[in-house]
């Protein structure tokens, strides 16, 4: 799990620069929550593209903490990136005023998708690509809203575990307040990832590394000293969330079908 963050920075900045250039975009958009992942993503984008070519979108709901908004703004100032703040409460509340619910997950998902919708609108408005902030831990556990915070044009962070994102944030000299922040999906006030999953990120990442990178069977991972319930839970979460990592299956009836044997690269002719 030990990696060279200067080299990681070099590769990821080259990735951001090249992908944008290939698609004819000069700038990128990052949804800024004031949390770790979006801050690291914005810092990489600022280094890769120059601050003036990055737009940080701050998209709070009523219950978003003022200090998170302040942290996002403070970071943007330090990175020299532009920001735009749009309150999503009118849109989200308009929907739930007609279809009331007290289901926190549904409300949280709606908020994530509202933000996605605003980001994509600004992608067209600004002719800028959306940079995703889902890390490897979230992608593997399916700990994200499909078509919500998981939606993006390119994702520079998707092969870094949460603990590695934090270390990269340290390497990029992000403010201590952001580096020390408790990770939260922000679906409801007081929610924390570790509280909800029931395991700490160092624990989760260590288990994921064994299962995924080292491809060791769960039985072996447990035998090597990890808690049985933890390994089993993580394995279940990976399997259950496969659909979030794939394009939806298309019913194949013709001889050449999108998603089956119409085989082209994302970067075709770019």
């Amino acid at each position: 799990m030990k990696i060279n963050y200067a080299f990681v920075e070099k590769v990821l900045c080259a990735f951001i620069r090249e992908e944008l250039h290939k698609f004819g975009f000069g700038s990128g958009i990052v949804g800024l929550s004031g949390g770790l992942d979006s801050s690291v993503c914005a810092a990489l984008a600022a280094r890769a593209l120059g601050g003036k070519n990055v737009l940080g979108m701050i998209l709070p709901y009523k219950d978003t903490l003022d200090k998170d908004i302040e942290d996002a703004r403070d970071l943007a100032r330090k990175l020299g990136i532009r920001t735009r703040l749009i309150d999503i409460a009118p849109m989200v509340d308009a929907y739930f005023s007609r279809h009331a619910t007290d289901n926190r997950v549904r409300i949280g998902n709606k908020m994530a998708r509202e933000r996605m919708s605003i980001l994509y609108d600004h992608s067209a408005l600004e002719k800028a690509l959306i940079l995703g902030t889902s890390n490897k831990t979230e992608l593997l556990l399916g700990y994200g809203t499909i078509h919500g915070d998981m939606a993006c044009a390119i994702n520079p962070l998707g092969d870094l575990y949460k603990t590695q994102v934090r270390a990269l944030g340290g390497h990029l000299r992000l403010p201590t307040r952001i580096l020390k922040k408790t990770p939260t999906a922000g679906l409801w006030p007081g929610q924390t990832d570790e509280g909800e999953i029931g395991l700490s990120y160092p624990e989760i990442d260590a288990i994921l590394y064994e299962l995924v990178d080292e491809r060791r069977p769960a039985k072996e991972v447990i035998a090597s000293g990890f808690k049985k319930e933890a390994v089993k839970k993580i394995e279940r979460m990976i399997i259950r969330s496969e659909f979030k990592r794939k394009m939806p299956p298309i019913a194949k009836i013709s001889s050449r079908t999108v998603g089956h044997d119409f085989l082209y690269s994302y970067d075709r002719n770019r």
């Binding site: 030990k2 990696i3 070099k10 080259a14 990735f15 992908e19 690269s265 994302y266 970067d267 002719n269």
Partner: protein
């Protein structure tokens, strides 16, 4: 002798644009007095072609744009990667050695990586042989990327008398450590060091850079001398044109010291292989 390693980033599927990049890079190498320029695997087409393979394929003898490259080989030798169409509808991942305004040799990739992130055998037919051929600098042998990781292929070129083993590559970087390079970059260097040392030949490895679908091609092109010494090394991940000075007399010096070439007994190896192949077991 001067060898140029063109650590470029070709555009996927755009052969016209890539040809232009080749011509410009050749001109730069010519101005730096290179005698040979080596481009990466599939340098004219990009790597992750999949269903684009038939669209970018050509017969090098009958393809006017390719003939422009062949014509440039009057001033310096050129190694280039492309999709070759042989007969009708048979496509290979090929490398050509161009010199004196003609195609001197074509090697077709024999080991097509298929599995994990690779799926070449879905789209290419495999090549069938490794053969050393004459150049004005001595005998040379060509390999394409994964070929080099099969040490039997390296042996075939050694036994064939190669003074230069030239590998063109589109190797994505994989695996991170505390070091400032991909884990896989060490793998290529390890093979380069070993093969150059035990073949008492130059090993010239040109890898590409750039991204395709999130894969980072690692660069890190290199040249090892016939003593197993690193003579040139391009940076990881960044475009570059490295021009290195080689002393051809090093080949003789190395063989005076280490008699691997003189002591080689290909008939013993062949006999052993024939028995193994003859056993015909799973």
């Amino acid at each position: 002798m001067k060898i140029a390693l063109a650590q470029i980033s070709p555009q996927l599927g755009n052969t016209a644009k890539n040809l232009d990049l080749h011509l410009r890079t050749i001109e730069k190498a010519r101005r730096r007095k290179a005698d040979l320029i080596v481009f990466p695997e599939l340098s004219l087409t990009g790597y992750t072609l999949m269903d684009l393979v038939p669209d970018v394929a050509f017969d090098p003898a009958r393809h006017p744009p390719f003939q422009k490259l062949v014509a440039r080989s009057r001033t310096l030798d050129i190694v280039v990667g492309f999709v070759e169409e042989r007969g009708r509808g048979l496509f290979t991942n090929s490398a050509a050695y161009l010199s004196g305004g003609r195609i001197v040799h074509i090697h077709r990739k024999a080991f097509l990586p298929t599995g994990g992130m690779f799926e070449e055998a879905k789209f290419f037919a495999p090549g069938k042989s490794f053969r050393a051929f004459d150049t004005s600098f001595g005998k040379a042998g060509l390999m394409v990327c994964r070929d080099f990781l099969s040490y039997g292929a390296g042996y075939a070129l050694f036994a064939g008398g190669a003074d230069f083993i030239i590998i063109i590559s589109a190797a994505p970087g994989r695996g991170m450590t505390a070091g400032k390079a991909f884990v896989t970059s060490r793998m290529w260097e390890l093979m380069g060091e070993a093969i150059s040392y035990f073949s008492t030949a130059f090993v010239v490895y040109c890898n590409r850079v750039g991204f395709e679908d999130g894969k980072a091609f690692a660069g890190g092109s290199f040249i090892f001398g016939p003593h197993g010494r690193l003579l040139a090394k391009a940076p990881e991940v960044e475009e570059d044109l490295v021009v290195a000075d080689l002393r051809l007399e090093d080949i003789r010096a190395a063989r005076k010291k280490w008699t691997f070439r003189r002591d080689d007994r290909p008939e013993v190896i062949l006999h052993s292989l024939q028995r193994i192949v003859g056993d015909n077991e799973d």
